[in-house]
Symmetry: C2
Subunit: 338 residues, 2 copies
């Protein structure tokens, strides 16, 4: 493990993206999003993901020149074609547009189809919250998770992001519909650990905390069992219908050579302006009182503190800004060679 | 157990509500909502809940004359004061208004504050789906669930409803943020059963499937552990900010004599018109292809079929329409006496 400063990481990723056809402006934007994911501790969708993006560009699965083009609009809802452009830039654009629409209408909604993997979804929640907006966004994905009661993966992992702004205490939830990600299974296995709770089924159909068994069976568990399973289905359908894009089913049925992570997915971005609705003082009071109330609970036996979504992100951000971002040495070497 | 026809149940509940001050029109509407919940198998929030509603009316916690009054509107978002009216009628009104707004704008949003328990949330999802709309709604509640990592309940159970229309195959998810409801714990205990998976912690802080232990500790588990915990917090904040209503914190801090289930809660109703966006044929194709794909998975070892949200509801509805709705004899007697 090495520690790399936020600035150095941005510079290095910017260089790689320019070398792979990005304009300087887009390279800087995308590099900032990748580096921010790592800064915030979401290593799997930060720097670690850059080599795969380069591969996708080389294979023609991501078009570095692709940009969202407006399909239709009613002044409140805008619908875009993502043209297989970089998913992080497309998503940032969409949340910006949703906030712009919300300026006039209190609420704005943007949908996009034919886009690419948005990398770390939380970025777009922070984007909204940092600008003072409530942000809600989600994406569908190709299938990666069995429904509750099923052996075969026919559901996307369809992450959902919910964000509420509050100056230095924004609350941002970024969650996939599986209890754990495959990235978490991998790192747990590499550390020879067990999951803290059941994460899926083994080949015998028994719930297990052993990450390797789940990697083998590919039977990862939806969060909340039937609940995450149902939610994944509904989020997919709503994103598909609103964007007139590909459903998880359509993604699964694509020709094999483009059946890759995030290719052609559908997304929804909603922004709402709580301060325009009820004033900044009310927002601040509600959020602060809620956090204070939430924190009054006694910690349970195994926990030392009770944290709200985004709280530990911010702590990690501060720590990584100060000490540098921890990076797997081999991955850093790989990125330097790209 | 006795079986009562849907019509008889409606008639009986209508009688009780009129006797308790409802107009005939409102009594019929509310009775239909209660009876539909029972018809669909959500017994805890159907007939079984009627005695408690009568108690709440008698205590002054629900105002039978209360109706939503418009606070402000921008033509797209309407915000109402619920005036402590019957929560089911208030919620039905709000979803109707959201659909009306969505007729012109593709999307409509209605929020309400100072309302009462909406009883079965799924009703408002079916209401939207049956009318051809995507429906999204949620409510906050007084706290009833500890956050992940906490011993004391500082989070509401904040149920979320997601609905996608498709003629006879609408997909409707109605889920609380806890893995199980206290109603489910009670019925499991009365049947001397165990929960199929962990439902909470016992007094020793160990995860348990024993419903009685959870009823004693009051440490019910959020669905997806930290995920449902985070989501409950965000849904509460968003509903509070958009409605300018009471947060879970504010509800918890009410004077003890009105600190009762659902008193003064905040709710959000969103309706979107997928057919106006992309045509009825596209909606139908997406939903039917998705269901077909979903059903292609092999059932897992312990399951005989794989069902989507709303599928079993519809089956139960048909069965109960045909055979009559199963009702606990003592509760039926109690309602007859009201």
């Amino acid at each position: 493990m090495v520690r790399v400063s936020f600035e150095e990481m941005k510079t290095e990723i910017t260089r790689v993206l320019i070398k792979n056809g990005f304009t300087e402006e887009k390279a800087k934007k995308s590099a900032t999003l990748f580096a921010t994911a790592s800064l915030d501790g979401v290593y799997s969708h930060g720097l670690n993901r850059v080599p795969r993006l380069v591969e996708y560009i080389n294979q023609g699965w991501v078009d570095v020149h692709g940009e969202p083009t407006l399909i239709d609009s009613n002044g409140l809802i805008e619908r875009y074609d993502g043209n297989f452009g970089p998913g992080d830039l497309n998503a940032t654009y969409c949340m910006d547009r949703a906030m712009e629409l919300a300026k006039d209408n209190l609420l704005g909604m943007v949908t996009i189809n034919q886009t690419s993997h948005w990398m770390r979804g939380g970025n777009y929640g922070w984007q909204a919250a940092d600008a003072g907006y409530i942000g809600i966004c989600w994406t569908n994905t190709e299938s990666s998770m069995p429904a509750w009661g099923a052996m075969d993966a026919k559901l996307g992992n369809n992450p959902l992001v919910l964000a509420v702004p509050n100056k230095d205490n924004s609350i941002v939830l970024d969650m996939a519909m599986s209890q754990f990600s495959y990235g978490k299974l991998q790192t747990t296995r590499l550390n020879e650990g067990k999951l803290p709770i059941d994460g899926g089924f083994n080949e015998q159909g028994e719930l297990t905390r052993n990450p390797e068994e789940i990697e083998q069976s590919r039977r990862i568990l939806p969060m909340g069992y039937w609940k995450g399973s149902g939610m994944a289905l509904l989020l997919d359908l709503i994103a598909t219908l609103l964007s007139q894009g590909n459903s998880t089913t359509a993604l699964d049925q694509m020709k094999p050579e483009t059946h890759v992570s995030g290719y052609g997915v559908s997304q929804v971005f909603i922004a709402m302006n709580p301060n325009a609705l009820s004033g900044e003082a009310f927002t601040k009071e509600v959020v602060e009182n809620t956090i204070a109330h939430f924190k009054q609970a006694r910690p349970s036996e195994d926990s030392s503190d009770i944290s709200y979504p985004g709280e530990n992100t911010r702590k990690r951000r501060e720590e990584n800004l100060e000490k540098g971002i921890p990076v797997d040495t081999a991955i850093w070497e790989q990125v330097l060679q790209l």
